[in-house]
Amino acid sequence: MENFNPNNINEEVKQNIEKKVFKAVLVDTTDVMKSAARDAADEKMTLEPPENPEDLKGMKKFFKSEFWKRTGTRIWKHGILREYTRNKEIYKAREKILNSGNIGAGEDKDQAYHDKFVNDLVNQFSSEYETAIHTDAGEMKKVYDGKKEDSEVNRKEESVKNFVKEKIKEYATGKISEAGFLEFEKHLFGELKGDIEGKQVRTDVMHASNMLEIAKQVKKAMENGQILADEDFEIDLIYGKSKGDVRTESKFTHSEKWAEKISETKIGQFVNETTVATAIALATSLSRSLSSKLASNKAAQFMTFGGSALISGIIAKSRKQREMIQNRTHHNRDMAKGLDYGEKDLNRKEMENFRVDTIGATAVIEEFQRVQEMIASGDKSITPEILQSILVNFSQIEARVRLSDKEHIDMIHYSDPSKVVEERWKVDIERSKLKAELIKMSKSGKLEIPEGYNFDTYISAMTDTQVNALVTDKEHGIDVKDRAFNKMKRSKGNKAALTGFITGLTIGTLAQEAAVHFTHRTGIIEDVYHDIKGDHVTGALGGVEKMTGLAYLKHYVSSDMSSHFSGNNVHEFVMGSNTMKLPEGMNLVHNPDGSFNLLNGKDVIGNHLTMNGDGTFSKEAIDVLHKNGIDIKVDTNYASHLEKHTYSDPADYIKDHPKGFHNIERKMWYDNDTKEFDQNELRTYWSGENGTGINGNGDYVLDVGHMTPDGSFHGDLSANARELLAAGKLKMLFTMSEGTQNHAMWVDVDANGKINVEHNSELGKLFFSKVNGHAQFNGRFGEVAEDLGDGKFKILGTMEGKGLSDISTYTGAVDEIHKTNFIIPGKYDYRVPPFIPVVPGDPLEPARKKAKEDKNKKEQIKDKKSPDGQVILTDGFYGEEDKNTLKENKEFSKEVTEAEYGGLKDDLKMLNKEIQSHHGIIMLEESSFKSEYGKKRYNELAFIKDEKPTRFNKEELQIIGNEMETYLSGVKISSGEKVETKEDKKLSKQEERAQFLKTLEDYLPNATNTKVQAAINSKIFELKKEIEDEEKIENPKQEIKKVVVQKEVKKQEIKKEDKKAEKKAKEEKEKKSIKKKINEALDKVENTMGKGLDALDNGLDSINSVFEKKNKKKNQKQEEIKEVPFDKNINNIFSIMTDTPKTLEREIDSKIEQAKDLPRRNKQAFMIFESDPAKVAGLKKKIEELKLKYPTAHFEFITPSKKDKETIKDNDTAEEYMKKVVKEKMSKVGLNEDDVMNFATRYK
């Protein structure tokens, strides 16, 4: 760069007067670029509203493809992937902007858009007005003019300027190309930005400049000969930083802000590379051991799961809140850019509720220009009051600009996205111009400034007041909007947290189940299917069964955690009559001492196991195995080699089985000389438990101890039964039939008269049975006899039976075959389901351009606007005559309806009230007016048709007010009664004053500036005094009365106030209490989070404890009642038809007794026919009791289906049905009819 010579300054300045001076502007637009990229991304993240919203309500929505499509989009793009997609779109938009150099490229705007943006920026930064640069918003401007006080600074600035000038000349003379010039410009920008900001410039920066345009102009001028040499033009370089977009920025809380930051900045990349390398090495070396530990540590998995559930809920809340914040920002920015939304855009409508009222930039420009014109033209209508009003309006705009810049809230809106910079700049210029005019007015004394103020301090104080009003307005202030928004944000956040928690649990579990095919895990469906099918192979020892969390939970809850082996994963080891089913990988190894070791692979899991003679494990061995966690289940089957032989004649039986039978001879019967049995003849009683004839061992017992010494005689002969008992001379003889009564089996009668027949003895089996729990004698005679020796007996007493026939015998043997199963704790590998929270997004609808007809409409209105800004009356409304009368403010008389008259009065009152505040003015609408006149005139106002309801139109509204007042002064109600308009007029003025007073009093607490407060107080005092004076003049007596009334009213008001205060205090107390509770709840949540692992750990312990207790209880119950399966080991099957628990029990007892006499009596199956399900329910309790009573028996109800019932007509058909069902069951388990002794015996 060329050196600047400070000694030549004065000379050069002189020369500059003659020279053409170009303002070269170089503006840093990096921040604008970032905002533009975010806006473009946000626009991409919108979702069109449904075409037919009604179709997406109720059940019918599930049949609409649009519903599913929208739901999918909301879940993925706007839900799960929202942050990712948005960031991707921001990145894409940023790339597009940087690559194209077009600030609007992200939103597909053309080059003209960018050119206008640059042009507007150049205008803004080259403007002389200070207000054009918004330093509060972060803008800056530095002029390199070499006119600073510091010569060193000047030298540097001159150096830069000359460098720029040199490059322009090089371009103009063709020494460098356009590309070369742009490269220089980029380099210069980097240098200046780095110099000003004091840091290295990143690559993703952007700037705007007019330097190439200047270079082109110079080139053209040189070509035309207008510039011939260096001294013919000069450069003033302006460097600036722009915030040239709308102002609204997302307001995040601390955590939200960081979440945003970490998603945009790769802070992890700034970690020292050695640290990262160490960390990766550490992670890799630890990964194998730790990950396996983690995989085996289910508590850790559950902690992760529980933690995920908790954290995911919190994250879902945070994400939803962030979405709401971003939606609000997005909507506010769109509206500030002059965009619009439609009727169906519900999310936009919702966000609109939280948008602060903005004021149109074009309206401000027009209004300020109009006021300036009025002032400049010396308009006499500008009274000191109007000037004060202008000052208030001016301060309000100042307040809006200040809030926009400092608080990043858009308080002014623009007409189009491309006009933001232009319109803002124009507003700034008009602000400066109007300010200058007002200063002039102030200096000339036309504008009164209160004592103690100068113009600047007064404007500053007023601006403070306006800022305060905009922030704290009770209905429309920023604070109110923020509070409402935060409430909605919290509510949606909580809802999202709940949705996230529920969907996380559900979808994660379902997703894991759905993925079983790919993960090779057993899912719940497969598990249940195998349970039903009965071929479940779980928890194999040789391998580990992989299952889903839900399938594992099913096993855990049902306490089915053991291994079961079948099919190919077992091998058999035969030892004697015992076959052991060993799981794959397990083996029994013989020891030299005859014992065995049980091995699992190479591990010994049972040492020195001894066997019983039949090859089953000894009790000691079972204990050893049990200690090692292995249980043994032995199933015993019986292999029958029996042959049945039936004797129809007992004599034949005795012939074939002589052992135990004795030939006897009865010498005499002590018949007591009577034909009928009596005395000792009848004193043979059943003994045993409760006289059943059966003792505790199941043996049959009788008792003749009751025989008396003199109860047996015949003629002269007698026998002393007691003596014979004591001498051991009595026996009991048992004979099978009358034909074989000389062949008897006998037992001795003991000294107490007891006769014991062992139930397993041939005598017991042949002659006795147990019927209904009672012994039954099946032989023909049982005789108590005196043993005379040599088989000779004298008979004392006789017991009779039916006698035996058809005696069945069996030859051969029944072998016991054992099968030993190992019950080993299963090895399961399950995965805790992933936690997948799904919270659909609530995307905004796309913003829309305002309809074109608005512009046309605006133009039409403009035509109607009078040059002096006043409204024009519409022809034909009240008539031309009225119009002229009103315009000329003449007295006139007209009839109107009573309603219209009342409406006019109300409208006037309403106008006087609303006109006092900006909010009042903008809230006005046609429906606010009651009179036809008011409605009509309101719609004719220029600012209404321009859609600019601003307070600057207060004057127009005042005109309507004046018209109404005039009108009311002359109209008559159509009934003919003249209205006292002067009184009304007076009343109206009083009301207006009262209203103004109220407005001031209301506002006073909000005024923060003490001087403004003082001014308001002064005005209030003045107004009150005016009112008092007026009232006193009117009616002194009434005034006294009024004072009394007022005092009373005041008292009432104080009371009311007290009550209000009391209520408020109560509410505050309640609020504090709620807040306290919320804080306590939050503390608890924090504690929960803080002690999350402990809590989850404890939670898991509790869950485990509950499960353990549950299992224990269940196991206890199961120990008590063991279900006996219907399998191949069944020895007898009995079909029973019954209908009461009592008869059911009696019959089962009888059958059990019957089965006891059979060689195979281990396992009975009772198939109970009952067609009525209700009765089945009633019988179940009894069956449970019977299961306890007969633990080896199988009980099952056979309940026919409705169809089967039709075929059952009577007992026979019922029996057929039972047989059919039982046969089917037998076939299923591989039982043949020959395998069971009693097959489906019908018993009724």
Binding site: S263, F270, S291
Partner: protein
């Protein structure tokens, strides 16, 4: 070594970590090259996000303001120095995160 080189180097190490992880988890099998590239990119983004989060969670709240300023300065050395001073066991902290990230894909 310049700071830019450091950033590139860290990125490379992370990429290498992801590459290995994809191979170990068997995710590369039967995947189109284009899909694989996208998968790697997504996983890298996710890893970087998690590392960002874990670093942030290890910075005491009272130091966040200072951290924000350092971060906004874009001075990589200052950021790196801040980490060293604030999280002395950074290697262990990051190792835990890498490990956790890995176990999400390989159990």
């Amino acid at each position: 070594m310049s700071q830019n080189t450091n950033v590139a180097s860290v990125k490379n190490m992370n990429e290498e970590f992801i590459e290995k992880l994809i191979v170990e988890a068997g995710m590369a099998i039967d995947l189109d090259a284009e899909v694989l590239t996208q998968l790697k990119k997504d996983m890298l983004d996710r890893l970087e996000d998690r590392i960002n989060a874990v670093i942030l969670s290890n910075i005491p709240e009272y130091k966040l303001g200072e951290f924000e300023k350092v971060l906004d300065s874009d001075d990589e050395k200052a950021i790196s120095d801040f980490y060293t001073a604030t999280i002395p066991n950074m290697a262990e902290v990051l190792a835990g995160e890498y490990l956790d990230f890995r176990t999400r894909y390989i159990a």
